[in-house]
């Protein structure tokens, strides 16, 4: 183990060839739409009804609120996610795979549903009511963490599972306590992955919309909610653009901190991959239970509410809502039966995953082989860190209005592409830390022995990248299944997806609408679970041939 400065072995032409594909994709679907909107905001007609309502004081306040809530959400997700990663990725025990899937499901749930489930907690007789005026803040941080526990668990878990246990064993043999070994050996090795996950989660938290709106009772505003207001209520694009710029600065800031932490802690290892998991012993039971408790409580709270809602009607238990999911009857307010909306969701998610996974892998490879990884990482995180309102509106202004012709505007392609944009950073972030840990000396030796970039990729990078990549497939599918941000701007009412069904049902009165909304959310959760399980199976299979 030694610290070596990054050495680029891949020839420049190869690097650009690989990097240009994902970068071009991000340029077309994120950078161009956002830039077009910002340009329009700054140099187009002022559209606002009145003088801007955005004062310096408001700007300062919303920025502080955004940073505060995102930090709280990130810390909560990190604490719960790290503990869960240890119990579920470092140890092998029957049922671990199931729990991994369970904890990943919320990632795909429409935020509005989790928000409503959590709003019960802050109701006058809810669990959190004792905390008084702090209640909405705690609820928001918890709800934000619910979505992101999976990100921490998967990104860090992937790295942890591949961490050579010999290092800890050596430390322990040399007299280090369990804690010392963990703190001085395990943590530094995991820090790049933790920093990567934290940056990602921080950005997801800082751009969250529905959770802040619903749980904050519209009294708490963040950059994202304020952008929404400025665009949709005041039609004040300039104010929205200013807020978006502040948001982008936050993104860059978070990335810089993250890559600084990473740079300080990154060490190269000369082993390609190692099996870091061990079977759980009976003596681990208590530790595993303790480690999983916080994450499970966080995730199960809204899940229980969800199941209760899907199976309870005005007169007690009922299977009506759940059986309505497979019925060929079309619920009032929808144009197709729900099973067909499920197919639409699956189609879009499959396409989005098929785009995001190879592009994410290309991006991870490019980052790992780059001289300026921090810049590339900032680019990778842009889709998560830039407001969905800005990207969505930008897409409407550019591709969706047919600026490049009807082919580009076709929602059958545009929606999965917009979803892939959000899934891509997850894939890239999951794979990059593992690739970066490969010692350049290995590459140098391979090159000396005559291995070209392709052979190096095949023999060195691919075997290392395979497992974290497979682990990220489920996450990519999950995020595509539930994405309802930028794509909400492109929704086709005659071609609904599951999140659209939920949203639509929640806008009609009647016990049946509410029950159907919960049942459809449950179905979304199950479909997501299956998608993640498939990812897990691929991951399980790759383990054997490493």
């Amino acid at each position: 183990m030694q610290k070596v400065s990054p050495l680029r072995v891949a020839p420049r032409a190869v690097w650009w060839g690989v990097a240009s594909i994902p970068l071009g994709f991000l340029a077309i679907y994120v950078a161009w739409p956002s830039a077009a909107l910002l340009w329009r905001a700054m140099f187009g007609d002022a559209l606002a009804d009145t003088a801007s309502t955005l004062s310096a004081r408001t700007l300062g306040e919303v920025t502080a609120t955004t940073l505060g809530l995102a930090t709280a959400g990130t810390i909560t997700a990190l604490l719960c996610g790290l503990a869960a990663a240890w119990a579920l990725y470092r140890l092998r025990w029957p049922g671990a795979g199931f729990v991994r899937i369970l904890l990943s499901i919320p990632f795909a749930l429409p935020t509005i549903v989790v928000a409503i489930a959590y709003s019960r907690l802050i109701a006058p007789d809810g669990l959190l009511s004792a905390t008084g005026s702090l209640a909405p803040w705690i609820a928001i941080a918890a709800a934000l963490a619910v979505f992101n526990v999976a990100v921490v668990m998967r990104v860090v878990g992937g790295a942890w599972a591949a961490l050579d246990p010999a290092l800890v064993n050596v430390a322990r043999t040399l007299g280090a306590s369990r804690f010392q070994a963990w703190w001085h050996v395990t943590m530094p090795a995991l820090r790049p992955a933790i920093a990567g996950a934290a940056a990602l989660v921080f950005l997801f938290c800082s751009t969250s919309f529905a959770i802040v709106l619903v749980l904050g009772g519209t009294r708490i505003s963040t950059l994202e909610t304020e952008i929404w207001f400025q665009v949709n209520i005041w039609l004040d694009l300039r104010a929205a653009a200013l807020l978006a710029v502040v948001q982008i600065v936050t993104v860059v800031g978070a990335v810089l901190v993250s890559s600084h932490v990473r740079k300080r802690s990154e060490r190269k290892v000369s082993t390609l991959t190692s099996e870091g998991t061990r079977p759980a012993q009976p003596r681990d039971t208590v530790m595993v239970a303790l480690a999983l408790l916080p994450a499970l409580v966080l995730v199960l709270a809204p899940t229980v509410a969800l199941i209760e809602g899907a199976f309870t009607g005005p007169s007690g238990w009922t299977l009506a809502y759940v059986s309505g999911l497979i019925s060929s009857e079309i619920p009032a307010g929808l144009s197709v039966p729900i099973w067909q909306a499920t197919l639409h969701s699956l189609e879009a998610a499959a396409l989005a995953t098929a785009i995001a996974v190879p592009l994410g892998l290309a991006l991870a490879w490019s980052t790992a082989h780059s001289r300026k990884p921090a810049t590339l990482e900032a680019v990778v995180l842009m889709p998560v860190g830039v407001s969905a309102v800005i990207v969505g509106l930008g897409l409407l202004l550019t591709l969706a209005s047919g600026a490049w012709g009807p082919g580009w505007a076709d929602p059958r392609w545009l929606i999965p592409a917009a979803q892939a944009v959000i899934a891509l950073p997850l894939v890239a972030r999951s794979v990059t830390p593992t690739l970066r840990r490969i010692s350049p000396q290995i590459r140098a030796s391979a090159a000396t022995l005559g291995a070209g970039p392709w052979a190096q990729w095949k023999e060195i990078d691919w075997p290392a990248a395979r497992r974290p990549l497979a682990a990220s497939v489920g996450l990519a599918a999950a995020v595509s299944l539930g994405e309802f941000g930028a794509t909400a701007f492109l929704a086709r009412p005659d071609h609904p997806t599951l999140p659209t069904v939920v949203f639509r049902m929640l806008s009609r009165p009647g016990a049946e609408s509410l029950g159907t909304a919960f049942a459809a959310t449950l179905l979304l959760a199950v479909v997501t679970g299956i998608a993640i399980a498939i990812g897990e199976m691929i991951r399980g299979r790759t383990r054997s041939d490493i």
Binding site: L334, S335, G405
Partner: protein, 337 residues
């Protein structure tokens, strides 16, 4: 749809690409709607077969969002015709010049709930306070009747409404208070706040989470909803909720031809179709609004459980547009700060 690109930086490339595909397609009509759009496939197919047009739909957001987005994309419209612009946002849209004036003149009798120059009214609804009748019977408190009643101590802590900035019924309710109280509306809201009014971000939260009606079991017997909500709360033939008809504001939804469409005939045909009986009779079940046509029958439950208010509040759309931003800002400072 016009395909002329507007972006200077991308113009050169985009021009080349779009000119390859600029052949005008007049058989497809793209309909832009709000996100509550719903219509049966049968009705849509019947229209397509009869007219020869193919319909495509795009729903970029709720009623307010829809208008913002139509204005933003005015140079390069997303479609040919729009449905769902309401009287609280219509002036903003027409002042921005995004419509090609067209008022459908199909035959029939239509409700006179408020027209708008250049647009065609399709349906309307009443935003009203709804009450859980069981609560008031069991607590032996009379049902409130007017907006003023809501500020009385016996109704303290019973009312949940939505934020006018994030919810369209919320805006309608704010406008109802402005229409009824005139310049005194801020004092009215201060009284509501003193009477512990709860404010949520969305109708779903107020209705599903807060409403104490037997179907939901929340903590608030008075919630902001619609005159057409009570039919959905009929249990075993008995109504469990009622709309307070002296608290209502009329919302009218319009359709219009988007300026810059290269298919004005198709757009007009769609608007005429929306005024037809086939379309109108589906409105109550599909979108749970009242049809503008007087020639179609309301569903039975509506006839018995959703009476229309006799004197709902209204405001001139132009007045709404001029004051919307100030009203919301003022409301924010009274209610949320």
């Amino acid at each position: 749809m016009k395909t002329t690109p507007i972006w200077g930086a991308a113009t050169a490339l985009a021009l080349t690409l779009s000119s390859c595909s600029a052949a005008v397609d007049t058989t497809t009509v793209t309909v832009i709607t709000h996100d509550a759009w719903a219509m049966s496939t049968d009705a849509i197919t019947a229209f397509e077969e009869e007219s020869g047009y193919t319909l495509e739909f795009l729903a970029p957001g709720d009623a307010g969002t829809l208008v913002s987005q139509l204005i933003l994309t005015a140079d390069n419209p997303l479609g040919d015709v729009v449905y769902g612009v309401d009287n609280t946002f219509a002036s903003r849209a027409t002042n921005a010049g995004i419509f090609e004036p067209y008022e459908s003149e199909t035959e029939g009798t239509f409700a006179d709930v408020g027209g708008f120059p250049g647009l065609t009214a399709i349906d309307y609804s009443y935003v009203c306070i709804n009450a859980d009748t069981g609560y008031f019977t069991s607590h032996d408190v009379p049902l409130p009747r007017s907006l003023e009643d809501l500020t009385k101590p016996e109704y303290a802590g019973l009312l949940s409404v939505t934020n006018p900035a994030t919810s369209s019924p919320g805006l309608a309710f704010l406008l109802a208070t402005v229409a009824s109280q005139g310049d005194e509306w801020p004092a009215y809201w201060e009284a509501l706040v003193a009477n512990e009014v709860r404010v949520t971000s969305s109708w779903s939260e107020t209705y599903f989470t807060d409403f104490s009606a037997p179907n939901y079991g929340g903590d608030y017997p008075l919630v902001l909803s619609y005159a057409s909500s009570p039919p959905f709360e009929v249990i075993d033939g008995e109504a469990t909720t009622v709309a307070l008809l002296d608290t209502c504001f009329t919302q009218v939804e319009y359709a219009g031809v988007l300026a810059g469409t290269d298919n004005p005939d198709g757009a007009q045909a769609v608007i005429d179709w929306m005024r037809s009986q086939e379309f109108q009779q589906e409105l109550p079940t599909q979108m749970y609004v009242y049809p503008i046509s007087r020639d179609v029958d309301l569903p039975e439950e509506w006839a018995s459980h959703a009476p229309a208010p006799t004197a709902p509040f209204t405001l001139d759309p132009q007045v709404i547009d001029e004051n919307r931003a100030d009203l919301i800002a003022r409301w924010n400072s009274i209610v949320l700060d």
